[in-house]
Amino acid sequence: MKDYLIDYSLHLADNALILGQRNAEWCGHGPVLEQDIAITNISLDLVGQARNFYQYAAERINQSAGQPVHPATEDSLAYLRTEREFKNCLLVEQPNGDWAQTILRQFFFSNYLFLLYQELQKSNDSQLAAIAEKALKEVTYHLRWSSEWVIRLGDGTAESHQRMLNAIDELWRYTGELFNAADYEKEAGADPSLFQPQWLSKVKEVFNEATLPVPEQTFMQSGGKTGIHTEHLGYILTELQYVQRTYPDSQW
């Protein structure tokens, strides 16, 4: 019998790792010192969540393989899988663009994670429930922080408003995928379509205050959850996995 919890944990881990990696690209380049630290703090929170999920996935992989000679580890899962094996949503791999685009991506995804982890807290699987409970405190802050920035930019100057509109144009098409459950989500996790209305009402609430329009229903991209990615993921992995690929098993 297939252990759907493995794929589900990998999906959750990949989401957190790739968004963490994207946010880390801001390190040293944030618009002001304080926001540079804020966005990299969020990056570290996400990488921490990714580690928890990878460790759990590795444990289950090794169990189902009967403790193999070369066991899976959190590192092997992060550094030695290929693009098609990553199960993250398309949204998290999108480029940083300008600050508005980074902020909007974070808002969309934190809003989603906030609802997802709340559901996951009630999971029958005690390990997933425990990770979700711990991560929820961090995500609550990420959601608050990114919501305020959406409002600040949307209801700011003509320039910042326009940049938010551009960001919505760019990213909205990747939000539909979040709520289309893949097989492993149906079998092992919380069905995200159940909390789509709450997600949308939060978007409406924040966009309303930010004087931004909520887009109409439109064509949505999908595929990331089953390994069909946009052209960006390959470049992210090239950088992320470079050291491990070039100097295999090197130690600090």
Binding site: E25, N96, D98
Partner: protein, 127 residues
């Protein structure tokens, strides 16, 4: 003149041919002057319940809410605090260094103001 201009992820301008790549006033642009038109705030952190708020440093922010969040990210990452105060630096009034002599030196020869002239019983610790 810069013949080669290296761009990093966040700094890439979205308009080609624009001479002014970094707009100093615009916090979106990642320019060197970004945030300089944001006021300065002083940050006070209480490290645990029952202790005083202590001055931790200062930072730039557009408003009080942002100042508290920036302070949270800059000064409490390593569990330094349970409470944050921020106040705009312009509202802090300071004594003038020029007046140091008249303000502080008169206390120099008044050692009797220190509680050091009492004989303490041996049983009393921590004085």
């Amino acid at each position: 003149m810069n013949f080669i201009r290296k761009f990093y992820y966040g700094d890439i301008p979205d308009q080609k041919g624009s001479d002014e790549i970094k707009d100093a006033k615009n916090p979106l642009s990642g320019g060197r002057g970004a945030g300089h038109d944001w006021p300065l705030w002083e940050v006070f952190i209480r490290s645990k319940q029952g202790l005083d708020h202590k001055h931790a440093g200062s930072l730039h922010a557009a408003d009080a809410q942002m100042a508290i969040e920036n302070a949270r990210d800059v000064y409490t990452r390593r569990m330094e605090g349970v409470s944050i105060w921020v106040v705009e630096s312009k509202y802090i009034h300071a004594s003038s260094p020029d007046e140091a002599a008249s303000l502080y030196e008169p206390a120099n020869d008044k050692v009797y103001r220190h509680p050091t002239f009492y004989d303490l019983p041996d049983e009393v610790n921590h004085m």
